[in-house]
Symmetry: C2
Subunit: 271 residues, 2 copies
């Protein structure tokens, strides 16, 4: 495997761009191949079997692009499929749930952690399992927020309606006196301003993206797969399973860069 | 083709149940095979190519069940795919858009019609085209409501947040002095109480489901395919591409019946 090979990264849609952005900042020499499954978003309401089958197709596609590592930039796929699919391939594969849990444990002071995510992520129970494995005394409170992904995909990011919905989702967690809130879905950091307003300064908002990029750097270094040359900078390619144009507009605003190469791909043929 | 063969009906998810319910009432002797594409809902944000490809798979599946007719109980698929796919099969295939447009023309008194639907349905322009073909003097005002499907799929049917979102979507249409509002997505009749509150009694709410069932009855009669025996009553089968249990709960509440046979099916193999 060559150090110059790209890094594969995938999500159910645009949410994984928050992770891609962090990787671009922490590993500026690496080339990214991003896949957003916009034809089948959202994943959070789907079953383990379906999310695993979709993840397998995408991994096959990314491997066809000779990636040297794969980042599962989707909490739902990380929680439901990563354990199974990571055993089926030879390249290192990392998810966002473990890094997110790790930083939450380091952040909390009163030991009370809130986790918000999709229905499927919360149902999987993976966050509490990982958190309590690191510290059995932690109290973990969870809340699924099924409308957040559609709201983000519609770009209602700073909207009174979104705030009202967020308030309703968060109020139960606030009553539990949490001091740390894990944004357990890669779409949610885009709602950070609204979430910050609701929880105030007393609650730390944990975005697993930062820790995921840091962990990816460690893994690449360990496997001697870091790219040391600068030639690939901003040479990233973005694939989607539907609506390349809409995705391009969204990605440009999130990544704050103009020139983004976006292509449609028929993901079903990788079955 | 036998009169005793079942009628196939499909939608992107649970929305088509509003049409199934109407067919059960108007054609109580017929057996229905319903398919809800819950693994890939929503369709309304997807492209014509994707919705056509998905519709083709589902039609293939329904034909494998020997259906005598197919009802496309999804406005998005009716608007984007019906014209293409109906030419590829021999059984009669009817959508919900044409019947919906027909009843809107019969309903309006001042000639000002509002249409709400998914992004894809509105972008297709099919409702204004059909309405104006029937009466060129009509004024048609459209509004996409992309959050309605996720809200319905989450069952926030009679909720202040849903009402606030609905108000925002509808206010522009109200300013145009419409007297008729077409619920151009099969999910929307489930929001009827909220929509009624917002528009008041002066605006007629048109649900294409009723007219679609009526049209289906005419087509079956014309082709001499009506089932005259009563033996199939309530012997319907519901297939979904994901989450049969969740669907069963939802379907039971919408159809107001307890015993519903629901099965998971891998729709991708019908490619």
């Amino acid at each position: 495997m060559s150090c110059e090979a790209p890094i594969g990264i995938f999500d159910s849609g645009v949410g994984g761009l928050t992770v891609a952005k962090e990787i671009m900042q922490q590993l500026p020499k690496e080339k990214l191949i991003y896949f957003g499954d916009t034809a089948r978003v959202p994943y959070g309401s789907k079953s383990k079997e379906t999310v695993t089958a979709y993840s397998r197709q995408i991994i096959k596609f990314l491997l066809s692009k000779q990636v040297k590592a794969i980042v599962v930039a989707c909490n739902t796929a990380s929680a439901l499929a990563l354990d199974t699919v990571s055993k089926e391939v030879e390249v290192p594969m990392i998810g966002v749930v473990k890094p997110g849990a790790k930083v939450a444990v380091q952040t909390t002071k009163n030991g009370k952690i809130g986790v918000i995510g999709t229905e499927a992520t919360i149902r999987s129970g993976l966050y509490p399992t990982l958190l309590k494995a690191m510290n059995p005394k932690l109290e973990v409170y969870e809340q699924p927020c099924p409308l957040f992904v559609p709201l983000v995909e519609e770009m209602w990011l700073n909207d009174p309606v979104t705030k009202e919905i967020a308030k309703r989702y968060i109020c139960g967690l606030q009553k539990q006196d949490i001091d740390t809130l894990v944004l357990g879905c890669t779409h949610y950091p885009l709602l950070r301003p609204i979430l910050r307003e609701i929880v105030g300064d007393q609650v730390a908002l944990v975005n697993p993206a930062y820790e995921t990029a840091k962990y990816l750097k460690e893994v690449l270094s360990l496997k001697k797969l870091e790219c040391t040359e600068n030639k690939y900078q901003s040479d990233h390619i973005f694939y989607v399973s539907d609506g390349a144009e809409k995705f391009r507009a969204f990605a440009s605003s999130i990544l704050a860069c103009e020139m983004i190469e976006t292509k449609d791909v028929n993901i079903k043929i990788f079955d």
